[in-house]
């Protein structure tokens, strides 16, 4: 992803935006909600 953004010549701001969105989507998909009683 890092390399792809460099190739696509994303600036720092767009890179940060994409990283934030990917981060939250990745954790949102992979987080195991069933085995957690209370999400802190």
């Amino acid at each position: 992803m890092e390399s792809g953004m460099v190739i696509l010549q994303f600036d720092n701001i767009t890179t940060q935006l994409v990283k934030a969105l990917v981060f939250i989507i990745a954790v949102g998909i992979s987080f195991d909600r069933k085995n957690v009683k209370v999400i802190k």
Binding site: N12, Q16, A20, F23, I24
Partner: protein
């Protein structure tokens, strides 16, 4: 009663003791440093007040720095069009909107607040950058002197004290204050008793947004400018207030007044770091000390029960040894 007075005196003696210690160690540190210490403690104190409702519900929030900067940028934009009223409303709306989005994302996506706050930190930095870029093509956002003079030293103390009083009234005299404490102490128990913990957390985030807006005002009024930064730089604004809040929450056993304890905690931090600067200690070493101090504060405040239990056992053994003849 006597014990309580001794405890209170002990709490208030800590910043004085630190101040006189550094005064003895360094020639450049003295009574002339008091305005600087007070002025520098105000922003971390209000950030601490903004972090406290969230931390009391056992959540973590590292986005407060970015939210505060975003509030300042929105306030300065509104100040251009609507003057001083627009400035205050802009700071309030800017900070509240981000806090609301943070709370809604946490609630809807159902992932840990730490993750949401990191993502929101990055997104808010980007939003502040775009806004600053749109209005002036600059990383430095300025407001006129007529506006920033109302929130600069010593008036920032008035803002901080007002924020502290509002915080005290909300946390000790309202239902939501009690519910925040209840959810923080044992969320499952609170849910079983019929408390809607998600609503309480949402309100805690909104409270954080409100105090964040006061900090936005103080931040931009401190020098009349605010620098819009990206690359998660605004996270640096969180560490010192977090230490102050941890110290404050630890001191709560001695005096049950959160805003006052946070102020004392932040004053201690401010005295320590200004004292280190007066002693000529390098920036790198200060960062090392900051890290060590943060670990110590978090370690002690997170293990107070264990420490107390160990002290109780030691005392019991000592009493047993005194009673049982050898």
């Amino acid at each position: 009663m006597k014990k309580r007075i001794i405890r209170l005196a002990g709490v208030f003696l800590v910043p004085f003791a630190l101040f006189f210690l550094f005064m003895l160690l360094s020639d450049g540190f003295g009574f002339q440093s008091i305005p600087i210490l007070l002025g520098q403690s105000m922003i971390p104190t209000v950030i601490g007040l903004a972090m406290a409702p969230i931390m009391q519900t056992e959540l973590m929030d590292f986005s407060i720095g970015a939210r505060v900067v975003f509030g300042s940028v929105v306030g300065s934009v509104c100040a251009c069009y609507f003057g001083i009223t627009g400035f205050f409303i802009g700071c309030l709306v800017g900070s509240l909107v981000i806090a609301l989005i943070l709370a809604l994302v946490y609630r809807l996506v159902k992932i840990p607040s730490l993750v949401v706050s990191f993502a929101m930190l990055m997104l808010t930095e980007v939003a502040a950058y775009w806004l600053a870029d749109a209005i002036g093509k600059s990383y430095i956002v300025k407001i006129p002197e007529s506006i920033y003079s109302i929130g600069s030293y010593p008036y920032n103390i008035v803002f901080t004290v007002s924020a502290g009083i509002i915080f005290y009234l909300i946390m000790y005299n309202t239902k939501i204050g009690s519910l925040i404490n209840a959810v923080g102490n044992d969320e499952i128990l609170a849910i079983n008793m019929g408390v809607n913990s998600q609503n309480v957390k949402l309100k805690a985030f909104l409270l954080s947004g409100f105090f964040g807006s006061i900090c936005s005002v103080i931040l931009i009024c401190y020098s009349g400018t605010v620098a819009v930064q990206t690359g998660m730089v605004t996270i640096n604004m969180v560490f010192k207030p977090m230490m102050g809040v941890m110290i404050g929450l630890t001191l709560l056993r001695l005096c049950n007044n959160i805003p006052l304890m946070i102020l004392i905690g932040e004053l201690c931090i401010s005295i320590i770091f200004n004292g280190l600067i007066a002693l000529g200690i390098s920036d790198n070493f200060q960062n090392i000390l900051l890290g060590v101090f943060l670990l110590l504060v978090l370690g002690i405040s997170g293990n107070t029960e264990k420490i107390r239990e160990a002290a109780r056992k030691r005392e019991t053994r000592r009493l047993q040894a005194a009673v049982i003849p050898k």
